[in-house]
Amino acid sequence: MAQLGERGTPDISIRIGGPAGAGIKAAGQSLARTFMREGLWTMDLTEYPSLIRGGHNVITVRVGPKPFFSHAVDVDILIALDRLTVEKDGPSLVEGGAVVYDPASVEAATLPSHARGVPVQLDEIAKRNGGVIMRNTVAMAAALALLRFPLEPFESALHAQFDSKSAEVAEGNVRAAREGHAEAWKHADDFPLRLSPVPGAPERVLVDGNDAVCLGALAAGIGFYAAYPMTPASTLLHYMARHEGDGVVVKHVEDEIAAMNMVVGAAFTGARAMCATSGGGFSLMAEAFGLAGVTESAVVVGVFSRPGPATGMPTWTEQGDLQFVIHAAQGEFPRVVLAPGDRDDAFHLTWQAFNLADRLQTPVVLLGDSYLSDNRQSVLPFETARVTIDRGETITEGEVSDYLRYRDTPDGISPRAIPGVKGAEQLVNSYEHDEYGWGQEGERAEVRVQQDEKRMRKMELARTLAPAPVAFGPLEADVSIVSFGSTKGPIRDAMDELAAEGVSANFLQVVTCWPFPAREVSGFLAVAKRSLVVENNYTGQLEQLIRQECLMEPDDRLHRYDGRAFTYAQIAEKAREMVRRPARELTGVTR
């Protein structure tokens, strides 16, 4: 068990736990926002079952003066709103960690023996200042007191949150906070951890992956977003719907089939169009995803995975859909699959996805997961100056003549004249077709070959346009990690932790998963001392692609498939273990 303050990283983690419906997530997020505004860096981890009430909900806020990339591993301060939290989260507390609890509902004797109990009359204080709903306010103020963190920033946050609703409620919250702060302050001397504001820190924003995707889509000039709610993609719909006023038609439709077919229709008019869902919704979209392929429609599809199969584990995380999105839908057609690793990637890959879709006139998938979608991190505002709009060979105005929608060209791209352009009579066709679009002609063997080859040729262009893998860490390292998507954060933190111990690690983040960057991955693996593929799934789908595309096998692999994200500690431990093993025990066959 870790000791308080013993971790390599200079940050602190605070967990709030209680039943669903107690406002746990909002509480944690306002704590994080308070810290962020005072110049600290934060990362949330929300964990909850697929229930509206009851069950056990938890948010853990990691906070510190230096940036980090992933969620907390263990807990320094546990705010236990109920007994279940003590029972379930007690074991995550570091030796000497504090448990803020209400002696009225939790008995001191039930606290773990290695914990420091901080009894605060959460209920009573809340009630006398306005109602039980304020319990979270009391508890958060108590946590701040333990860290000797000033209360004023939190008070202004409460004012900001409640003033517009009711001055009375705002005042009540502030009073409740002060009382909680005062009560916990008594225990602060015993508690060694301290946290202070960092003055003059740069402005930051608190975003989860879905916020970042939405911002990227808005920046890219999205005009149409259609979706059917599905965890963890639902908040994209909420966000986009709130931004209809920015010039986006947002439709909550009857099912995912409609969403995808509408998006293809919207692309026909030249709108930048996107839909997003989780794996289950994408299953239903598969046919129309192929429609986008054969009709050469520029669409962006977000697939934010949760553990499957079928309904699976709606509120948890997994990277189980990589091979599915690469192979979904009957027949063969070009597609691009981009996997953002963090919020910055999510923003920039999203607007790039729209450009790629337009350049290639084919569907582009943004593949994420709940871990990235759901959890907030403080980040520097996204560099909007980098955003460009490249609509490729799309003709939106004026006139065309002798127009052939599917003209055979050297790079496979046929100029696309959208409806409204004079002379743009055309037939966009789900059947195989000739250059004009006629289905009858598409039955001829030579026409089929022409069009199939034309489409597939776009994969070559895609290889040159799609983002290359990104390498982190030293050129030579004791352990070389290959991974994709949201494992990026834990891997980067693990690298830092390992570096502090004198173990060097480097990391190749596969950003474009399809077309697969075989050259870069092969090169990285070829010089690796010990190679490791990290994946949040059971079957090792990235490794399958590496084997298929590079004819190489990594030395080892780390999988997790219990619905939870990797912690950096877990990855670091795997790397340590590999370094301890003599090289000949590693299983790699190719070098």
Partner: protein
């Protein structure tokens, strides 16, 4: 503004001789000419089936969509370019079978577009299986013992579900079909037009003669009341018959069953849809305010 002749393609129809699809094709071309759209101002979306095969034969801004999915594709078009009138051509399997959910939800959505259903009461292109509108007890390759479901009642469902223009016609009467099409094209809202379309190849039951002997025009009878949903619903029920019914005991109404003008369309309720949405994507959108909101 293309004429009937200009609406034709070099690619000529391949429907079976005597197919009702020819008549619907004729009626549609004439209706488009009469209403007077330019090529740039309308788009046509087809589903998959013999009805859908019409995609090859009409010169226009066209989209041959998936089986059953023409309505959502068309909706995506209509909701991103307010300058286009969208016409959707579907079969009965296409529109009421696999596409039934989109039909239901399109009716309640009232997106301005015209849905034309080639109701031949059979799956034509896939060689004659029962369709959701096949008469009960009809024997087909997929129902050799006879259909045992009650047929879909498209007029009744559309009226129940809030469609603002619901009509039915018989392809054999081309002029009448064309006039219904024109009304549908001029309707401000979602217009449902179900067309009895004989399929001489596979449907030996509901033939031209069979329909001709049974159809009558709603407006020719006393009590015509297309403002009333209940009246329209009642009339929709009279389509139910069995395979052997005599012409006079089984009269099939055609005409406008229900029409409600003045209901705002879906597009009307989207202020952001003042112009085609591709215009949003000419330069990066300013997201500074949205970003600041997260600070």
């Amino acid at each position: 503004m293309p004429t009937v002749a200009e609406l034709e393609q070099a690619c000529k129809p391949t429907w079976c001789p005597g197919c009702g699809d020819f008549q619907m094709w004729k009626a549609l071309k004439q209706a488009i000419e009469n209403v007077g759209y330019t090529y740039e101002r309308f788009a046509v979306v087809w589903g998959i089936g013999n009805a859908g095969n019409g995609a090859d034969f009409l010169r226009c801004q066209g989209f041959h969509a998936l089986h059953g999915r023409a309505l959502p594709t068309a909706t995506g078009i209509a909701l991103t370019n307010p300058e286009l009138k969208v016409i959707v051509e579907m079969g009965d399997g296409d529109g009421y079978g696999i596409g039934g959910n989109h039909f239901l939800h399109s009716c309640r959505r009232n997106v301005e577009m015209v849905g034309i259903f080639h109701n031949n009461q059979i799956y034509g292109l896939t060689t004659g299986q029962a369709s959701p509108t096949s008469d009960q007890f009809m024997k087909t390759p997929s129902t050799p013992g006879g259909v045992i479901e009650e047929p879909v009642n498209p007029v009744g469902v559309a009226v129940a579900q809030g469609a603002t223009f619901v009509a039915r016609t018989f392809s054999g009467d081309v002029a009448y079909t064309q006039s219904i099409y024109e009304q549908a094209l001029r309707h401000h809202g979602f217009a449902v037009v179900d067309v009895f379309q004989p399929c001489p190849t596979w449907n030996k039951n509901n033939t031209f003669k069979w329909y001709a002997e049974r159809v009558y025009k709603l407006e020719d009878e006393p009590g015509y009341d297309p403002d009333s949903r209940v009246w329209a619903f009642e009339k929709s029920l009279s389509t139910f018959h069995d395979l052997t019914c005599a012409p006079d005991s089984c009269r099939l109404p055609v005409g406008v069953f229900y029409r409600e003008e003045g209901v705002p369309t879906y597009q009307d309720r989207l202020p952001q849809l003042a112009q085609p949405m591709w215009r949003q994507a000419r330069k990066p959108r300013d997201i500074s305010r949205a970003m600041r909101a997260l600070g």
